[in-house]
Symmetry: C2
Subunit: 259 residues, 2 copies
């Protein structure tokens, strides 16, 4: 039994890390499309094409039984498209995050931060409204947070200023719950908590686990293979990989043949 | 007589704008690789491959006589590679910028800001040292400036803080000249000038013009065609295109056939 996880780049490793910790016996493969990262500033058509290429690679190479789209932008734009093209279950990060947010909010006011693409898609808003139409949702794109995380500026005055700028308007609206709608953001969870200790933070890297559990068969005696693939080899990826998942081997792959 | 200009995305439009203003009678074509932007966080191998695909498109479609690489990262990594692959003159933005900086500095101390890739390549440093080995060069990667410009946060406290953080250490070293080593940065020229009025700012979108002049024949009665191509269609590109070059038509193109 194998699970495939893909992301536009590095951020999805937070999801990968949660999956391998939770499902110790399963084979779990990761593909980061680092040659074309980020997806957040691309069009829907391009995001769908790239996502299908990533999915095809994982399916054809590893015969995975479940595909996890660990990228909020791809989850927002390409999920239905992927489901129409592949024959295995496809799990995105948006619906699980929305579900947890709707479950945890007490005053029915939820804030969402994400890339420009994710926020524009209204994917979280639609998904939450689908669960409970009475919930009020306030959104803010937070495009500086990805480069700040990738620069390693976690506990830094620019990061604090940016976080306040993005989150304060949502707090002013009275939200009690904040969806971290991008896989990079959980790295800033502690900083956000320090600034806004009263907020309930929804981390999609954890929210996705119960959904995976529903789709897979845990009974097989598996080999716990872990392999990480990227479409480009960069130092930034290697450094963050080391920090998030440690010594798992990574290989470069060319997606051209899986188009 | 036609000139081709390519960039990883939007930023090169500052160079394109200078070229069409200066060479009014020439045909000038632009390609922005918006489906894979940015190049600054990719590897040398990937940057070379993408750059050649962009070059081939412009050469095969428009029979250009001169190729301008309006991207500092591609100029830093792919220029020699491109020159070995195509038979027309290839002009990058690094050497012209370096030349102007070496010309303008009085105290022979030059600062350079750019993407992580450009700074790591040491391309400006090598090019300046090549002209005058006695010049001291101080560099700083400034990765937040591109997303800040793309967000339109020009006159904003986060931008000011980031500019100070990136430029102050160079000023502390005594530089009198600062190379804006990324095509996005000229948009921030006024802000930088306000913070550091004593610095001479080197803008590669202007530095490139004398080099082009050497390569082209201005005598032909040309048609002044202007066309802009992108590999992805996004709202951000359309907005910045409008702001930088106005109403020039843009078209989406698929580079697959030019590989």
């Amino acid at each position: 039994m194998a699970i495939g996880v893909f992301d536009s780049g590095i951020g999805g490793l937070t999801v990968y890390s949660s999956i391998i910790e939770k499902f110790e016996s399963l084979d779990v493969y990761y593909l980061g499309d680092t040659a074309r990262v980020p997806y957040g500033n691309k069009s829907e058509e391009t995001i769908c094409r790239y996502s299908l290429e990533c999915a095809n690679f994982l399916i054809e190479q590893f015969d995975i039984s479940c595909l996890v789209v660990a990228c909020n932008t791809a989850s927002s734009f390409a999920l239905n498209f992927l489901r129409s093209k592949v024959s295995i279950p496809v799990i995105g990060v948006v619906d699980p995050g929305a579900k947890q947010a709707a479950y945890f909010t007490k005053n029915k006011k939820i804030g969402v931060i994400g890339t420009i693409g994710t926020i524009k898609s209204n994917s979280y808003s639609k998904s939450i409204k689908n669960l409970d139409p009475s919930i009020e949702i306030y959104q803010n794109p937070a495009p500086l947070l990805v480069p700040l995380v990738e620069e390693g500026r976690i506990n830094h005055k620019i990061t604090k200023l940016a976080l306040k700028e993005y989150i304060q308007p949502l707090v002013n609206k009275g939200v009690d719950t904040l969806v971290l709608g991008c896989t990079h953001y959980p790295v800033l969870k502690e900083e956000i908590h320090k600034l806004y200790p009263e907020l309930i933070l929804i981390d999609s890297s954890l929210a996705v686990l119960p959904e995976i559990e529903k789709c897979i068969d845990l009974s097989g005696g598996d080999t716990a293979k872990r392999l990480i693939f990227t479409t480009d080899r960069t130092e930034a990826f290697e450094l963050l990989k080391q920090r998030i998942v440690g010594d798992i081997k990574s290989e470069k792959v060319d997606l051209k043949e899986f188009v």
